[in-house]
Symmetry: C2
Subunit: 367 residues, 2 copies
């Protein structure tokens, strides 16, 4: 069945803060799930990187870590950044942005799905049907300005947003392919282009290129929304959303908002996908307020691990890795819905180790 | 008591779509409330402007309308824009943006407060305590790019965001003064600077200038949030927010999101304030889907009228105008909380005329 010739190698970057706590838990879970699915084990190569590593060594993203990312089959990422540790010019240490550029990880994939055991943030019962994916363009947009901005005479500052045809084509195509795969509720998928085409010419250009890509997918639905109206609809009727594609900065804001609808960052996995590389990380940050206490909820890290297994499964034609991903998702859902362990952020008392033990324990029950 | 020497003149721009329906209702209510408060009547001068006017006459914002806005004591605005009516170059007809620039209406004030009768969108009971104000900078930021964007060779497009020291100072100062006035829950106010200072140098500049202004208000609290984290917190714990100040584009997105927390645009008033002029408009648009049916909820227009009366009261030292504003707010709240009339968007059957009659009827009961 397997078309795997080689063992798959994973570059592991735990990073800072709670990234260092949830990552070992995730590796243990992946090992167990992969084993249970009968897939060949993955090989993990862990590298230190991030703000704390910078404070210790003067390097935020050492060459060896970058090289491991380049040559591995996937990158598993915890979280990076720390309030008080900055580069000499005062800017923050956020190697995740560098990795997006370095490997052209153009599609930030942020699935948002409610399942039993998650808090009911919205009072409308239809919110149980929340099941959409936000695709954030990640190599241009306003983030093109990073490192290029100008401050003139302490009087005015400028940052420029870039939208390219190539960048918009590839991320739109990605979104349509995702919509085709999802076959959500048995219906053909809908891709919504989220922009501000009524005001900005770059955004009108984004919509125009999106339209050209949409024309190649007549079997799928397309739709448009202004970003402000979409933010409102995320609160009013998120159960109507399917696949959203948007500019980098808009995607940053909307994906945090979206995570809020299912209880916050504790449950929000993400994938940063390029033509050759894929990076998988929980959407939460390093959480300095709770770091070091062992109380972080590792669920988003676990679900990011499952996204990695799914991506590897497709790339290498290895169904058993997809089976392992399903096992992880089912075990997380079972743990939360049966309340075997309730994370602190949802009013429970389970710390990271207890959540991990529960989820690994649930693997057997869900196979 | 009154320091009014002249009758106050209001430039009235109903605009397009439901703007034309909610505006006459609002003028009737203002007349009644001002009369009941014993204040001298306002004089309304109505001008046509907007997309439908453009289609009929070739002018979106006629010189006479603009002149009336310039010479009046306040501008009352319905809504403008229409999907199929555009300028020859394909751009939308949105004179509200032109007015912001023309009169330097730098502070977009968007109060968000829950009161009985509004839908409980969030399931957490603390959401009944939602009571914050978003101050959106409205003369620069990313909107500086409007009309300046470039599309090169159908291959790449650029839009540039501008942050100036003067623009940031005045909007920050406005936010601190607002926080001082609010004395919310008896505590000194907190102003939160919402930015993306970790990535963009223009945003780091925004935060720096905000800080300088904050230093002049040691009696008030200051705080910072990245825009993505703030979007999450608006969903997770909006009852903790007080006064927010942010860049133009971020403010556009966050104010729609915020309106969603109290049931949508039907209840969201807004004020666009400059050094000399003030424009007051409901945050909803022209609503082409329901326009012409007489079913629009006029509440946001009514509350925008109340904001205008409050602003005029301070400007002209005329307490009775503030009394009229309180009467309008109380009458809207009473109508909704007693369910004398329930707007269609909240599952009721009251159309615009019925809502208006109920609110005007409630004026007597709340005096
Ligand atoms: C850490 C930060 C720079 C980053 C971003 O803005 O992209 C984060 O918010 C994210 O969403 O991955
Ligand atoms: C109509 C539109 C251009 C406008 C804006 O983006 O400012 C609106 O959304 C608003 O919030 O007033």
């Amino acid at each position: 069945m397997s078309s795997l010739n080689n063992t798959l190698k994973i570059a592991v970057l735990p990073g800072d803060g709670i990234g260092r706590e949830v990552m070992p838990a995730c590796l243990e879970l992946i090992d167990a799930a992969v084993g249970q699915a009968g897939a060949p084990p993955l090989v993990f190569e862990t590298h230190q990187a991030g703000a704390q590593h910078y404070a210790e060594t003067g390097e935020a993203l050492p060459a060896a870590a970058l090289e491991a990312c380049r040559t591995s089959d996937a990158i598993l990422f915890g979280a990076m950044g720390w309030p008080d540790i900055r580069f000499p010019d005062g800017t923050e240490i956020i190697p995740q942005l560098d990795l997006r550029m370095e490997f052209g990880l153009f599609a930030g994939v942020r699935p948002i799905r409610w399942f039993p055991g998650l808090p009911k943030v919205l009072s409308d019962p239809r919110a149980e049907g929340i099941d959409f994916v936000l695709v954030r363009e990640q190599t241009e947009g306003l983030f093109y300005a990073r490192g290029r901005g100008e401050v003139l005479n302490d009087q005015e500052a400028y940052d420029t947003m870039q939208i390219t045809r190539a960048g918009t084509e590839r991320v739109s195509e990605f979104a349509f392919q995702l919509a085709a795969q999802r076959k959500r509720r048995g219906k053909p998928g809908t891709v919504t282009c989220v922009d501000k085409a009524n005001v900005f010419s770059s955004m009108a250009f984004f919509r125009k290129v999106f339209d050209e890509v949409a024309a190649k997918h007549p079997e799928l639905q397309k739709d448009y929304a202004y970003v402000d109206a979409l933010a409102l609809n995320m609160v009013k009727k998120p159960w109507t959303l399917d696949v959203l594609v948007t500019e980098n900065m808009f995607g940053d804001i909307l994906s945090d908002l979206a995570a809020g609808l299912i209880g916050g960052m504790g449950m929000a996995p993400s994938a940063d996908i390029g033509d050759t590389h894929g990076l998988f990380q929980p959407a939460h940050g390093t959480a300095p307020d709770i770091a070091g206490k062992g109380v972080a909820n590792p669920s988003a890290m676990f679900l990011s691990g499952a996204m990695m297994l799914d991506w590897l499964a497709v790339k290498h034609g290895e169904q058993r890795l997809a089976d392992a991903a399903r096992l992880i998702e089912a075990a997380v859902e079972r743990t939360l819905s049966t309340k075997t362990a309730v994370p602190m952020e949802y009013g429970g008392s389970a710390n990271c180790a207890e959540m991990t033990r529960s989820v690994i324990g649930a693997l057997g029950a869900v196979r």
